[in-house]
Amino acid sequence: MDQLLALAVVVPLLAAAAISAAGPLFGRGRRVLDGAAIGVAAAVAVLLLIIMFRTAAGDQVYWFGGFRPARGIAIGIDFEAGPLSAGLASLAAVLVTAAMTFSWRYFERVATYYHVLMLIFLAGITGFCLTGDIFDLFVWFELMGVAAYALTAYRPEERGPLQGALNFAITNSIGAYLSLSGIALIYGRTGALNMAQIGEYIDRHPPGGLVVVAFLLILSGLLIKSAIVPFHFWLADAHAVAPTPVCVLFSGVMVELGLYGIARVYWSIFGQALGHRAGISDVFLALGVLTAVVGALFCFRERHIKRLLAFSTISHAGMFLAGIALLTPLGLAGTAVYVAGHGLVKAALFLCTGIILHRLGSVNETWLHGRGRSLRVTGVVFTLAGLGLADLPPFATFLGKGWIDDSAGAHGLPWLMAVFIVCSILTGGAVLRVAGGVFYGLGDAPSEDPAMAKAADEEKSETDSGKQRTPLTMIIPPAILVAVAFAMGFLTPLGPAVEAAAIRFEDQPGYNATVLAGAHLTHPVAIAAAESTGITTASVLAGAGSAAGALILALLALYWRRLPLLRRGYEPGTGLTTVLARFQSGVISDYVTWIVLGLACLGGVLTLVLR
């Protein structure tokens, strides 16, 4: 039954080919093809969910062409599915289904290639999650990338999408090539491309400088994909201009895939050889915290709703990286749940933004102030999703972040909780400020920033705006996503199962035995002790506190001009805004310079740490 793993990639790829071939045959009846594409995405989602539940007992391995390992040496190419990898892939499939359903009425004229690209994108994501081969990781990375670049420039007749897609494609391609160089080096050293095989080899031989260089190079592509500061600049450009349903996938899963790649590569190849040193943990914790704070600050000052959500994604990517960097099972389990909750909630927020764009024809928060009063249902969904983003119990975001906090606290990092709370308040506050201003007309409109307003007003032609009512196909997907994120918070009885999955993910000898010897381990060995997955009072207080803090911050941002002390015409953070804007120049050469500088620094620090 392991063939299911291959089907999860083959089905969307074949369907994409069939749909693009059948496109010309269905001149008028294009809707049939759209429906078929949605059906395929939903089928893949079900398939991946089945795989996820099947792997709860033990990881599944599928060898293409039946080339099983001979005497412990991998000669074929494998797919390896565990609950976490299959879970991430099924999250992607669910979001693709939601986004394509949303698109049914969203675009004026949706071309067939939109659905084809979405299916290829989904196949790339699934392959990336399931592959057990390091070179295929690069291939799926680029396949996913090419579909994503093309989707970003869905409206190539405008400046924004074109520029965003160029920046996105060039930065990510550079990252992919650096990763490939690392893969070539590691192949030269080990003679293997299978991740388990490489891991076993470099564990048995003393790791030299070459292994560290290869580690850094492979990570670089994944760090760029996951938008970790200072490699994050492309993200806001691309997210702000891609069609809104595509942003759902970019923010909901694509960024997280980079982080998944980092975790996969670390736990199946390098972790044991590098000795799981505290130094590695510290480096990535620092990167994560930096990203979380920078993303949150950029998020709060933004007036372009899509860019605002994009910066919030950067902030969350930093928090996820910090969760992974704890190197504990509970930290990883918490990150997995947090990623799922965040993906669902963020997708709902983007879809609601799509509805705003569809009905009101703008994503400029200042202009929209008070104009969204008629969108009652959308307003409720958006507000709930915003509260979910601010970790209100019992959303899944709260559950996942609570686990990360618990694990950090148990390992002598209680300050991480404070960082998380501040970032959640800033990003949640920004989203709730939009909700309060646009849908309920609270307070005063935020001041106009000419550059931001121009960029926001550019966002028009992708949708047939000015419609009198919201189609059901547009409001139901976000509502369901928020409901699922809410319901997932009640899955606390499944906590031990998620943690067991995380332990299995982090058990490198177990992974090697599963892949290379076909063993099914019932008792994986964790490198750090399992911790309680119960909900602590502290985490409830932290979650409720950050949601309340976000609400207060949002109200302050809306009403601060009416406060007697501040009625001076002063806009908080104006000086800061120009400084921050200078970093986000939109010019590709600046971004590449940052990438090179960042890699040089990261390389230096890693060398020092691993000396």
């Binding site: 070179f135 291939v139 680029e142 990338g145 090419v146 670049y149 093309a150 420039a153 190539p156 007749e157 405008e158 400046r159 074109l162 520029q163 897609a165 160029l166 494609a169 060039i170 391609s173 550079i174 992919a176 090539y177 490939l180 160089s181 070539a184 080096l185 192949y187 030269g188 491309l193 550059a451 121009k454 960029a455 550019e458 120049s585 939109g586 010019v587 590709i588 050469s589 590449v592 310079t593 090179v596």
Partner: protein
Amino acid sequence: MAYIPFIVVVWILMVGLYGIVTSRDLIHLIICLIVVQSSTYVLLLGVGYVTGAVAPYFYDVPVHTPAVDPVVQALALTDVVVEAAVTALLLAFAIQAHKRFGTLDPHELASLKG
């Protein structure tokens, strides 16, 4: 002498990155991206090279003849395919940029709001 290919790899990579950072023309920039990728071809082939070995097709040669590693060649071919797709897409973007906005300068394209 075995390290010479790797010096070449680093050199090509740096030249390509320098070109991307200083480029004022999209076509030039895309070519520089190809240069960056070319470093991976040299690296892959350098990794698999065996001095004095034959090309890896095992027809009409005695058994146990040393051959260079065929796997890296397969990887390099896959790499070429990936590059073809990415480059084609990027060049299509560049053509669109030139058609619509009459410029290929990334700086002008970035400052051209609206």
